[in-house]
């Protein structure tokens, strides 16, 4: 039995709200959480330490509220989707009629990087559809970049205001139509690569990367880059359109790799975010694996083909 605004809804009830002060933040989050607590629904809250502390001071009963301690949940969008799915499965198995979850994704306004999270916000409309989830995503208009607001309005079917007014987002795009943000070019990509390999095997790409990357980044990051480039090259050779071109750039403590082919790339808008099944499983599983590593992954669809860009850094990951 679902309660509140999501009463009678099926699957993921995905809302966004914008606030510009702690008072507005409180006006959005307290009714959402208190209503859930009163109904005996699990409430999951994931903000930064300051906001979490504020929320704790505002709520009457914290016994049914979870503050995920593992900040690694938001390490990558793919990991977040998988981690929350496991959490939802647990709560449903324990008899929850609805699960309330609220948080703020990494973006420049809170010191994080929004790259890739636009696809996450689009994807969760679909991939959490199996669960009675009410997701409330709150963004600070004082700090979030305009592009973040644009994405939020296109990925959330509903918008709620601090005064409690709910409306449908007239800019909402279903996941199949969602236009993801183009990856922000890395400055290194504007320079000549250390090496360029055309139509060479994944093994040759790994050897070149190992040679360039050894000592440049930690062994752990290099291993993740090796796994990533191998999967990307295999996909390009099997599913892409030749030529498949691998370029590797290096800077102190940082490696950038791009794998490009002239094909259109995966048609599935969820590629990499969830493990694919059926005929697309081989392609989808490789991309899904890449997206869970401790490296930055960007997919770029363009007129000249499809590119997987991998970035590994010793300091920032």
């Amino acid at each position: 039995m679902r309660t509140g605004a999501a009463r009678g809804q099926v699957g993921h009830f995905h809302e966004a709200g914008f606030y510009s002060s702690d008072a507005e933040f409180r006006a959005l989050i307290v009714p959402f959480a208190e209503e859930g607590i009163a109904a005996g629904e699990p409430v999951i809250i994931g903000y930064d330490d300051r906001k979490n502390a504020l929320i704790r001071s505002w709520l009457t009963d914290l016994s049914a509220v979870t503050f995920p301690a593992d900040s690694g949940v938001y390490a990558t969008p793919t990991r977040a989707i998988a981690a929350y799915r496991r959490l939802f499965e647990l709560h449903v198995a324990q008899g929850a009629g609805q699960i309330r979850i609220t948080g703020e994704l990494p973006n420049s306004g809170n010191g994080g990087m929004f790259d890739g999270w636009d696809r996450y916000e689009a994807a969760v409309n679909t991939v959490w559809q199996d669960f009675p989830v009410w997701g409330l995503c709150l963004y600070d208009t004082a700090t979030a970049a305009p592009v973040v607001r644009d994405v939020v309005e296109r990925t959330h079917p509903r918008i709620v205001s601090p005064s409690g007014v709910r409306r449908a987002s007239d800019r909402f795009q279903v996941v199949a139509d969602f236009e993801a943000l183009p990856p922000v070019p890395d400055p290194l990509e504007q320079t000549s690569p250390m090496i360029e390999l055309v139509d060479r095997s994944a093994a040759e790409a790994r050897r070149a990367l190992a040679q360039i990357g050894r000592g440049q980044v930690t062994d752990t990051i290099l291993d993740d880059l090796l796994l990533g480039v191998s999967e990307a090259v295999s996909n390009a050779l099997i599913h892409g359109r030749p030529p498949a071109t691998v370029r590797i750039w290096a800077a102190p403590d940082r490696i950038v790799v791009s794998v490009h082919d002239q094909g259109r790339g995966p048609a599935d808008p969820l590629a990499g975010l969830v493990p694919a099944t059926g005929n697309a499983a081989t392609l989808g599983l490789g991309l899904w694996l890449i997206h869970q590593l401790d490296i930055d992954v960007a997919l770029k669809h363009a007129d000249d083909g499809f590119t997987v860009r991998l970035r590994g850094a010793t300091t920032t990951g």
Binding site: A202, A203, R206, S230, P275, G286, L289
Partner: protein, 303 residues
Amino acid sequence: MSGRWHGVPRLLAGGDPGAGLAVMRIIGPVGSYRELGLQDHLCWVHGDRGDYRPHLGEFFRDGLGRGLRVAYLGSGDARMVRKLVGRVAGTGPLRSGKAVRVISFEEFYGAEEPVDPAAVTKRYDAATQEALADGYRGLRIGADMTDLVRAPDRQDAFARCEVLLERYSSRHPLSAMCGYRRELGDAVAQFACLHAAVPAGLTPFQVFACGDGAVGLLGEFDQACQSAFERALRRIEPAPGDSTLIFDLSQIQFMDHHALLSLDSYAETCPVPVVVRSAPPLVRRAARVLGLEHLGHLRPGDL
């Protein structure tokens, strides 16, 4: 020689039980057929018989120097073969010397079709035990397998023989150089990958026998060799009486998710539980990311 030396801590049959001999085997790509030990199993690829026989001669000469009985496994006129072996082995014309033997393919591989790998291994064992009983330190075999494996429908049975011989030589004083001619084309790689020692560049991966009964995997396993790896896996069976089958992953340089899934599929159909051990960090990383949802049939010794 670029292969790795593996210490196999076990006793040699016929050796001094108190000595606890650590038998060394060459594992991995090699650049030479020289200096092979008492239990090495080498695949050697060559152009034709004329190219192969001088190598065989050196292999035999080295074996005789190590106190081994050497045997040429082949068909044709025995007298001619004895003369050839005598010449290349540098022992002069052979009359009745027991140190050098010529054994027909039929004697080891039988006349039945398909070849029975277990029966073949028993014959290799009998010949090895006979050499020990006659006072030799073991048996060394050289053979050009090309004509035996040319027909595609015979290749599976002969590949299974190679798996069993690899296992046998890891635990008994049998050393072998299995010759395959290049004219077999791509088929060579499917036999080469089942030897502990292979010429460098012939196969990206190898499946070898560890001295403790585990199956060792060596090299790089990715999508490009996935079907070859799956074919090699299909030829591996648990040893009779073994309650588990252990795969040792310590010599893997790279393994992607395709190979991990292949190993998991193998575990699903294997009649005994499959355990993996000693995975390098990169393999552990890939396995953890894939997770139990996709690797639910492997028992992760230390993944």
